[in-house]
Amino acid sequence: MTALLNKTGSPAERFTSRNPDDFAVPTGREEEWRFSPLRKLRPLFQPFVSQDSFRFETELPAGVTLTMVGRDHELVGTALTPADRVSALAAANVGQVVLVTIAAEAQLSEPVTLRSIGKPGLNYGHFVIDARAFSSATVVMDHLGEATVAANVEVLVGDGANLTLVSVQDWDAEAVHVAAHAARLSRDARYTHIAVNLGGAVVRLNPTVTYAGPGASAELYGLSFAGEGQHQESRLYVDHSVPQCSSHVVYKSVLDGDTSRTVWIGDVRIRPAAVATTTYELNRNLLLTDGARADSVPNLEIETGEIAGAGHASATGRFDDLQLFYLQSRGIPEDEARRLVVRGFFADVINHITVPELHDRLMATIDARLGGTPAGAEEDS
């Protein structure tokens, strides 16, 4: 064990280390790996030389700079210490780090887009998004094509800054994507993280939030649409350690294949010092076929008697016959009624995506997956 070793308590206890050797190769029996399809993840359990099989496109509005820096840059590792072997291997072996800086007080009206278009190959990735004090920005990480990726994304949200990070996993069918998204919020920071899982064979995201100053708020939204053979796993950890902060989590999954699989782990920890915390988490899963399986594990650990509010809810179910009956009783054909219900189910996640082109593209993708476009949504010429 090394000096960097860092235990954060129980039961949302997190062992973190920068040394990959501190993490054994997963066997599938570990709590953190037991839901995952290890066969497909195995290439990520050993170090490799990143093949960088990506085309990287960016859209950078005024107020944003992008530079490539080394692993030894001072900001690298300030929000994230790896919590599993894949993350540790990626952090230790990645060639370059993409540093995105949003200038202090910059108010971006256009989104920052970081688009990775993959080709088959093994890849490490590391991003640091440094949203300086009182800035306001939306960053879209858009993942397309096919690749096997282990990535770390660090997000620093400065004093009073407002950052939205949308991570879109719109991969082709064979992609494998394992990533840790670690945010550290300074005083009065506002952070919105939206994960949209549509494509890929395996997507396993680890969004975490830590608070470095009081008054900060985090909203974590997730949309997963798992088709045949897709595994989409979201492992959240929100660590409340300072007073007057809030977290709000809404994750929704639709599973429409017999072998579709989603996993949602919602760990929220409220430490003794985190008085006047508000937290709420919701996970809802809609199973459209018999064989599909959604695991949902909320875990709220409260260590102070002085919280402002805390709650969680989790539910997994099938189409509501009464909703379909009601829509059909107004003449709407059954398949269209189903599409309306699914779109409606996702609405309170996807409506947080305020970039119009992205919102429309994602809705169109979801509609196409559901087999059409609801007639009511069409505009006439």
Binding site: G331, P333, A337, L340, G344, G376
Partner: protein, 251 residues
Amino acid sequence: MSKLEIRDLHVAVDDTPILKGVDLTVESGQTHAIMGPNGSGKSTLAYSIAGHPKYTVTSGQVLLDGQNVLEMAVDERARAGLFLAMQYPVEVPGVSVSNFLRTAATAVRGEAPKLRTWVKEVNTAMTELEMDKAFAERNVNEGFSGGEKKRHEILQMALLKPKIAILDETDSGLDVDALRVVSEGVNRVRETGIGTLLITHYTRILRYIKPDFVHVFFDGRIVESGGAELANELEAHGYARYGANEPAAVQ
């Protein structure tokens, strides 16, 4: 001219017989009131005609202009011209009223209504029902008050223009003002010449919507039929002589 014929209809819920032989014919221009105590099977009749999955027709027929309604899917029944204003409208999270109405109108009319005339049509219908414009952006029935739900049902009836409308306790849960607004909304659609089957427990809605025929419903069948005067009878004496100790007038 349209005609809804219900012939010797028997319906069960979870193998329990609820409707035990209902015969009734509703034609365009007619308003039939069905009155009966709680649990007599009024909603079962309404839902069975609409095709609710919970209700199993064990025998009998329902015909709309000679066509077998019971063989049609739920949405086909609506497109054929049947409309049910539900006693308990269903919440559909995340689906806005405006999207829902337009999708329904597109389905029933067979083509998407032209956007400009459609907006005007919806606004007019909402104004007539004294509904705020912001209502259209809310999610279908989510967080609606009882009165809002009923106005929303009648708004749909006005926009979908059915041949035969079944109104299941549209009056329940409405205060006097809302009852007047909703009844006037129903009357505007009735004046277009549709057939109406008005299901109610209480007589008070009949002050606003005048029935041509009144049927007393009890234990899964019609036990007495007459004209509007039968409602006055029920108003005075309740359902006692049919064996149910319930008043039909609001106390």
